[in-house]
């Protein structure tokens, strides 16, 4: 597998150097692998921190900046960051109003953020956490680690970030973050496996004529493996799985169609066209849409669809100014 790397062991450190070089607005703590807003620690404002395994870029470091995250903790590829990193991020960005952790529901992330919250509490910093568990592909969540956290994370970071920017207190920012998390649903489809640099070969075998419906962002298995079919049929499966899980009627919807890292934008727009048509047929109003690579899985080909059952407040916060490497408007 060909990759633009120097050595599998230095991928993360080398990539962080590029992040800092390209985006003078953020600062990188290399020892702790924390990307944070360079300036703008506004006293009294709630700070937002997220983090997770690397390989899902631009999530999370690409969303650090005005109107979104204050800091992102980067773990090794597909491996959760550690509590000491999270604590370093927490003490760096806390402005006296408390810190919200945005955590995707994977065992490693949950346990490490939990330890970090305990350490932060011991230092007198108030922390609340919101868990994102939006992947409808996981049906039997009683007997698993629960639903996985995927695309809704991007929407939580944007909307809660705008709420924090407005000066709301920690309880209020936590409340809207939780509301977004609870009203978002996602499902993905993989055409190929991702290849972890340190492993050097695809994480799973997927024959040329098959796709994995409901794949996770680390290549976790989905609902089923089926033969390759037209985009319209794949879109139908994604849309109907999500709509079967939550009633989206009568609410404005925010739609995110994200690539998984190895699929060109023309195919993502093609897929979004199919999704938009299916939603219209079902009488569902898309109020805002975002198409592109926002939560990826290294070089995996495929896409994920996220739908958020929004309300007027969420739309207003969605439209609020944001100035980050990967999301920028209104500034």
């Amino acid at each position: 597998m060909k990759k633009l790397i120097n050595s599998p062991a230095t991928v993360l450190a080398d990539a962080l150097r590029g992040v800092e070089a390209a985006h003078p607005d953020v600062s990188v703590d290399y020892a702790n692998r924390v990307v944070s807003r360079g300036a703008d620690v506004k006293q009294g404002r709630v700070a937002l921190i997220s983090g997770g395994g690397s390989g899902h870029e631009p999530l999370h470091s690409g969303f650090v900046g005005l109107g979104m995250l204050d800091a992102a903790c980067a773990g090794e590829v597909f491996t959760s960051p550690t509590p000491d990193q999270m604590l370093a991020a927490t003490t760096a960005v806390d402005a006296g109003a408390g810190v919200l952790y945005i955590v995707k529901n994977y065992t490693g992330d949950v346990l490490n953020f939990e330890m970090a919250a305990e350490l932060a509490a011991a230092e007198g910093i108030e922390v609340k956490s919101v868990l994102v568990a939006d992947d409808v592909a996981v049906e039997d969540s009683t007997w698993t680690a629960g639903r996985r956290g995927t695309g809704t994370t991007v929407l939580v970071e944007k909307i809660a970030g705008a709420a924090a920017e407005e000066g709301r207190d920690l309880a209020a920012v936590h409340e809207i973050a939780t509301r977004v998390s609870e009203n978002g649903r996602s499902m993905g489809v993989a055409l190929t496996s991702a290849t972890v640099p340190a492993v050097g070969k695809p994480s799973f075998d997927l024959p040329d004529d098959e796709i994995e419906m409901g794949v996770g962002i680390h290549g976790e298995p989905g609902r089923k493996r089926v033969s390759l079919r037209p985009a319209s049929e794949i879109a139908e499966e994604l849309v109907s799985s999500i709509l079967a899980d939550l009633d989206f009627s009568g609410a404005p919807v925010i739609a995110l169609l994200s690539g998984l890292g190895g699929t060109p934008l023309i195919e993502l727009y093609l897929m979004y066209g199919e999704v938009a048509a299916l939603l219209e047929q079902r009488g569902i109003t898309v109020a805002r849409a975002l198409v592109g690579d926002y939560i990826t899985s290294l070089d995996m080909a495929g896409c994920s669809l996220t739908l958020l059952r929004a309300d007027e407040e969420m739309l207003r916060l969605w439209d609020a100014p944001v100035n980050t490497a990967a999301l920028r408007w209104g500034v």
Binding site: T79, P83, G108, N112, M115, A145, A198, E220, P221
Partner: protein, 219 residues
């Protein structure tokens, strides 16, 4: 001159244990990753090896304190270098053991058994996994029971550690038919059966490393 009858673990014994653990993890990293690629995300060997290497550096390059200080430093090194669920769980194991032994400089079988029990209880609480969920608990819990039983029967330390290691190995092997209910393997559902659990495997290596390093030092 130490003999097989020696009934206490010293700080140096603890350090020898963890150095041995690093040797074994390095040796078996490929195997652990292979197990993990079948039902997880193919990084358990790599992640553990990064952690045990850091533990080795910390223990061999900085002066050691009492048993509690050594175990705490092991826990912190694992938490901050392994990452993922394993880092937090292995870290918790050692941090809870450290709290249990406090400032002791030598641990007899009963004190060590109590510390091990406290450590494993910490892992259970942190990971919210129960025996049978196909996790490291399936190796650790039977190992704790074997060690406690040996301690209360007055079995010599060396023998007690061997029975703890044997119980961990049996618990590890018993994970093969299980369907995972915790961690990333749980997403496979029934497809997680017929595989050895990587976490239970590294946990069995940990206990075996203690029995082996102790046997070697008292030979």
């Amino acid at each position: 001159m130490r003999t097989l009858e020696d009934s206490r673990l010293t700080v140096d014994d603890l350090i020898a244990w963890l150095v041995r653990f690093d040797d074994e993890i390095v040796e078996q990293a490929g195997f652990l990753t292979e197990l993990d690629s079948a039902i997880g995300d193919a990084d358990h060997g790599t992640n553990m090896a990064r952690g045990t290497a850091a533990v080795r550096v910390r223990l061999t390059e900085t002066p050691s304190g009492d048993a509690g200080a050594v175990l705490k430093s092991v826990g912190m090194a694992l938490v901050s270098t392994v990452g993922g669920a394993s880092g937090s769980l292995y870290g918790t194991l050692f941090l809870e053991m450290a709290k249990s032994v406090g400032t002791a400089s030598e641990l007899d079988t009963a004190v060590f058994a109590d510390a091990f029990r406290a450590g494993v209880a910490g892992v259970v609480a942190r990971g919210r996994a129960e025996p049978g969920d196909k996790t490291m608990i399936d190796a650790l819990q039977p190992s704790v029971e074997a060690l406690s039983a040996a301690a209360s029967d007055g079995v010599p330390l060396a023998e007690s550690l061997q029975s703890a290691a044997a119980a961990a190995a049996a618990g590890r092997d018993a994970t093969i038919p299980l369907v995972a209910r915790k961690g990333r393997a749980s997403y496979l559902g029934d497809r997680s059966a017929d595989h050895l659990d990587p976490g239970a495997t590294s946990a069995a290596i940990l206990v075996q490393a203690l029995a082996d390093s102790h046997a070697e030092r008292t030979r």
